[in-house]
């Protein structure tokens, strides 16, 4: 490998060390050593071995693939001119500049016209000796309104920059300074966001309220309350988990965790909320939604540039509602006070930008949802009624009313509402489930009888699955007879054993406490007994931690 040229200055030492064989397409293609490729490129560009433009381009492309930020790829560009842009763009740019010229000229004239304040009194004294940024700008009294605006905007920009680089305390200080000069919705909004990052919920709330007072149509404040609630809910779930002394996993997936945390809700409520999340149809989307919202402050430019709130486009509107609903579902009953505050603001917020009948209806049923969550079922039902008046085909309103009715123990009304839902949209599985789900003994028995009459083991299995073991005695108590018992046994044996052996076991345990079981057991026929013993045999073969062989033997002895 001969050096290319005799002269090699130390700076261009690479020129001498690249052999000619390397100036080749196949070599460049196969080479992945960036430094060497850069040397090759330099040699090619220098033209010492001849001028091969295509090879140069090829080498550049290859380097770009390996390292887009490589320094050798920097090209000298000419300044852009009007010709580089489309007519539309250029027109925008030049018009923008002209508008600015005009406005700045008027501003300047305004400035000159103002009396020159002798600001000697207000300037700090000559230097003769607190490293916290002060919360208010001193000596602001003598400034004109225009000057105050300029300064306020500057402080706000400083706050934005501090926010973007993660110094939230500093950002709050700058926003406060901006607000002390001239209050603006944008500064309040941004300060609310900074408070949220610092997890100061009450401060954030008060700032959001201030915004809405200033500008009731402010979409950003409403949007702020979404991430506000997201992160607030995250905090709530954190607290709940701490209460229950559970280790919190890294990335919190709101719905699942909140559902698991709901210990004071009975299981039906949980099912309800699961059902609701199904109906909203965006269970799996929610983490991304919430993440997107929390990423909002960082990504969106409307913090930095626009002071005017952005209008909510219709798809965003629907999306917002979905999110609202999803977030609403995850309310914790424990923190009802906080929840009540959130929902109040949410309602205000949602009320503020909606218009029109549909929106009224939507508002109503969202309120209804709030009420349901807080177990204020009468109000919920009222809201649903009004929603349905406005929009008679709203299946969500029906569903909500069904829930409300269930809460009020008006099961007939509940059923009819659920059937309405199914009529409107047969694919709503949650309504079906709710229908299926027995909420009291009557329903359970009815369902069971119905299933038994059709000899529908599957339905029976479903039914048993959806029922808590503890309730089984109460449900079954009055209707328990040999026939029913054998039916239940068969269902357990065939369907439930494979999927939920633990459930089978607990069911059997609980069932044993049923009032009439002993009597029934005595009246069991031979077939039924063999089925029971088979069930226990199968149970024994199942390996699980919930119960041991010993437990099964005990239980079997009780039954047989």
């Amino acid at each position: 490998m001969l050096p290319l040229s005799g002269r090699g200055r130390s700076r261009n030492g690479d020129v001498t060390s690249v052999p000619v064989e390397h100036l080749d397409y196949s070599f460049i293609q196969s080479c992945s050593d960036l430094k060497h490729l850069e040397q090759i490129l330099r040699v090619l560009r220098s033209g010492q071995e001849g001028f091969y433009p295509h090879l140069i381009e090829f080498c550049e492309r290859h380097i770009e693939k390996l390292d887009p930020k490589s320094r050798v790829l920097r090209k000298e560009n000419r300044a852009a001119t009007a010709a580089c842009f489309s007519t539309e763009e250029w027109r925008n740019i030049s018009e923008d500049l002209q508008m600015w010229e005009r406005s700045i000229r008027t501003d300047e004239a305004e400035l000159k016209r103002c009396a020159i304040f002798s600001d000697a009194e207000n300037v700090p004294p000559v230097r003769s000796s607190n490293s916290l940024v002060q919360q208010t700008v001193s000596s602001s009294s003598a400034l004109t309104a225009q000057e105050k605006d300029v300064l306020a905007r500057r402080e706000k920009d400083k706050g934005n920059e501090a926010f973007r680089s993660g110094d939230y305390e500093e950002a709050v200080a700058y926003y406060s300074r901006s607000l002390s000069l001239a209050s603006s919705a944008a500064a309040f909004n941004n300060r609310a966001q900074a408070h949220i990052r610092l997890q100061r919920w009450s401060a954030a709330l008060s700032d959001c309220e201030a915004v809405l007072q200033l500008e009731p149509e402010n979409i950003k404040a409403v949007l702020l309350m979404e991430p506000h609630n997201t992160t607030a809910l995250k905090l709530l779930t954190d607290e709940t988990e701490q209460h229950q002394e559970r280790r919190s996993t890294g990335r919190k997936i709101l719905i699942q965790e909140v559902d698991e945390d709901a210990q004071d809700e009975d299981r039906q409520k949980r099912d309800v909320s699961e059902g609701e999340s199904g109906i909203m149809g965006n269970t799996h989307k929610t983490p991304s939604c919430t993440n997107r919202q929390t990423d909002g402050p960082n990504g969106q430019t409307d913090i930095s540039s626009d002071d005017t709130p952005a209008g909510a486009p219709p798809p965003g509107h629907a999306h917002l509602k979905n999110e609202e609903n999803t977030l609403l579902e995850n309310r914790e009953e424990k923190h009802t006070q906080a929840a009540a505050e959130f929902e109040r603001l949410k309602d205000e917020g949602s009320g503020s930008f909606r218009s029109g009948c549909y929106q009224e209806a939507a508002e109503r049923y969202t309120e209804a949802l709030c009420y349901i969550k807080l177990q204020r079922f009468t109000e919920a039902r009222q809201d649903c009624d009004s929603a349905l008046q406005l929009q008679p085909t709203n299946k969500k309103a029906f569903y909500r009313r069904a829930l409300a009715n269930k809460g009020l123990k008006d099961y007939l009304a509940c059923r009819s509402d659920l059937q309405q839902v199914l009529r409107l949209d047969a694919s709503v599985t949650e309504a079906e489930q709710l229908l299926m789900e027995p909420c009291n003994a009557c329903e359970f028995v009815q369902a069971l009888t119905a299933a038994r009459s059709q000899d529908d083991l599957l339905t029976c299995a479903e039914l048993l699955r959806s029922v808590a073991s503890e309730r089984l005695p109460r449900f079954m108590g009055w209707q328990l007879d040999a026939h029913t018992l054998s039916f239940v046994t068969r269902a357990l044996n065939t369907h439930l054993l494979h999927t939920h052996p633990e459930l089978v076991y607990t069911h059997l345990q609980q069932l044993h406490d049923t009032h009439r079981l002993t009597t029934v057991l005595m009246m069991l026929g031979r077939d039924e007994r063999s089925q029971l013993s088979q069930l226990f045999q199968n149970l024994r073969s199942v390996q699980t931690e919930a119960f041991s062989q010993h437990d099964i033997t005990n239980l079997a002895n009780k039954y047989l």
Binding site: W100, E108, S138
Partner: protein, 392 residues
Amino acid sequence: MSAALEKPQIIAHLQKSLNYTVFESRWIPCSAKFVCMGNFARGTGVMQIYEIQHGELHLVKEIEKPKPIKCGTFGATSLQQRHLATGDFDGNLNVWNLEAPDCPVFSVKAHKEIVNAVDGVGGLGIGDGAPEIVTGSRDGTVKVWDSRQKDTPVVNMEPMEGETKRDCWTVAFGTVKVWDSRQKDTPVVNMEPMEGETKRDCWTVAFGHAFNDQDRCVCAGYDNGDIKLFDLRNMSLRWETNIKNGVCSLEFDRKDINMNKLVATSLEGKFHVFDMRTQHPTKGFASVSEKAHKSTVWQVRHLPQNREVFMTAGGAGNLHLWKYEYPAQRTKKGADDVDMGVAGSVTLLQNVTLSTQPISSLDWSPDKQGLCVCSSFDQSIRVLIVTKLSTV
């Protein structure tokens, strides 16, 4: 390519050829006007005020002065007054009212040699505290002035003859003089070298850390590569370092916040970005350096509307637009369990070649994002528009 079009574009909007050497151009705050300062071939100084009108540059005023003018700033004046503070080849610091430029509002013979650089703080609502002007000169001194104190400097930190106690002064080859235009004859702060020390040319000065009434820092860059950071609150040398090549230009990303970043440009095409939030007792501030321009980097200017974006002007007549990105963690624990800073990274957004001569000065308009004026040694000034800065 759409990817290319989404990058900020630098548009050469207006250009004007002048008949004098222009050293500095500065926007007049709250207006569409800027001032160019330089010297005529006959050896007198000149200030010209241009205004952008209907897509053209119109000469509004021309002011001629006896001495060539090297640098100027609006930093220490109020928004209503908008007085320009200039340093000239003779070592004078003058503050002019551009509406009545015959007589300066404040004038003092600040240095024995040419005033290389001037900076102001406390005016225009930038920075709390007294409005002050700092000048750096070829005589190696840097002084801070306050115009209210006419006779004596606000603080005088001259080292005495024969005393060796102040280590900072033995290494401070240059002195720093801080002027307040209210104090006429003596600087507010004066930090001079010891007798017998070789004086170093101070090429650039910058104010920073001026977020309340008391705190303020002055950073000075010298021709041997020294960068010294003086804390005016404690009147001490807070930090110094040497970047091996003469420091052409220094700027804090914002003057009126807790010091965040400092960019220092130098000869040989390098510039350094220091993260000023965490100072390590021995290692100082963390920095990242970048090589660009293939020649001296004459100026660095941060975008007033976004402190992470800055433009560097090079000796080959080119401009590079950069964006700084913070690292995931700005501090980390060092070996001795003391916090040290972590520097981020700098990415090139756009570059453009405007002329063959160095671009000696650059100034962003504080009122319109993306509008900037630059002047170069080919005796021309250009007004540029940089697009898409809000999405950067």
